[in-house]
Subunit: 189 residues, 2 copies
């Protein structure tokens, strides 16, 4: 978890990147909006693209830790899938701005960071795939649809959230999360 100052900087950067674009936002504007000193910003982030990467890294790191924690509980496959999906949908739905900024600007990441990002995303994908495959092997889930397609369907709706979802809209994150988990589990029965 980032400290309070780091989080203030990230929140300000997300708001500015989302409203006026990454290019149009200067480090000075972020510093002013976050009400911190330039020295404080450079203590945490070497440059603006460091901040872009960190915005997303924090989110995916938290989501990975959540998934690992849930798997370690040793619940049934259905309960494991439900907990993972609810946690993933809620954390993504609450932070659609971060995800939208990252998706739009990720082509700016340097090769090392892009590699790190892809590895993190692949690990997350494969861990969830393993949960579905285990449930299918145990006979708790239907094997009618291959696990890789089930994962693409579950992650598809999550990855599209930034395009249409607003956390202050008619459907709160927890309700949406419950509906998505219900549907995926119904499909796996």
């Amino acid at each position: 978890m980032p400290g309070a100052t780091e989080q203030k900087i990230i929140d300000a950067a997300v708001r500015l990147f989302a409203s006026q674009g990454y290019d149009a936002t200067s480090v000075q504007e972020i510093v002013t909006a976050a009400e911190v000193t330039k020295g404080a910003l450079y203590h945490y982030f070497r440059a603006k693209d460091d901040l872009l990467f960190e915005i997303y890294r924090l989110l995916i790191t938290a989501q990975s830790a959540d998934m690992d924690r849930i798997i370690e509980l040793g619940l049934s496959s259905a309960d494991t899938v439900r907990e993972i999906l609810v946690s993933l949908v809620v954390s993504t739905a609450e932070r659609v701005d971060e995800t939208a900024v990252f998706v739009r600007e990720m082509h700016r990441l340097d090769e090392a960071r892009m590699t790190e990002f892809r590895a993190e995303r692949r690990r997350y994908h494969e861990t969830f795939l393993g949960v579905i495959e285990k449930g299918q092997a145990d006979g708790e889930f239907s094997s009618a649809v291959p696990a890789d397609t089930v994962v693409r369907i579950a992650f598809g709706v999550v990855n599209q959230l930034p395009v249409w979802y607003r956390p202050d809209g008619p459907k709160p994150p927890a309700r949406l999360a419950g509906e998505i988990a219900d549907f995926v589990l119904a499909g796996l029965r």
Copy 2:
């Protein structure tokens, strides 16, 4: 359906936009790659952004026509959903390059075209929503998960295809389409 010359121009533009970006592609390069005259290109497209819009408009127009045609067959709700999803997944999976280019560059569309695009997309969304709602009202589908979330799940995986799917990969479009339709219908039972 576009004529042969128009399709050659579109195919060349998609290849160039996908490989080197929209900005870096000149009208002259498109003309050369398509093996047509500049006059032929300007006969069909006023400018480069006309071409960008047309690439996507052709796809969504064909998909809308497919959906209308399927609904008119008067099949059961389950068969209607299956036919719509298979047709949508196959047409998108076969043309992931077009969709990827459009998604990346759509912010360049002028206001009138953006409005037209949004209206077309909304109409498609609402027609499919109506099919799910009808099946739920008739009792053919479960109402456990609200129709709007079912539509977001079904379209989520379709809209994410350009991010990961390759039509020449291990899973051909028709097989992927069948799996997605199977899963969505299992969730609706």
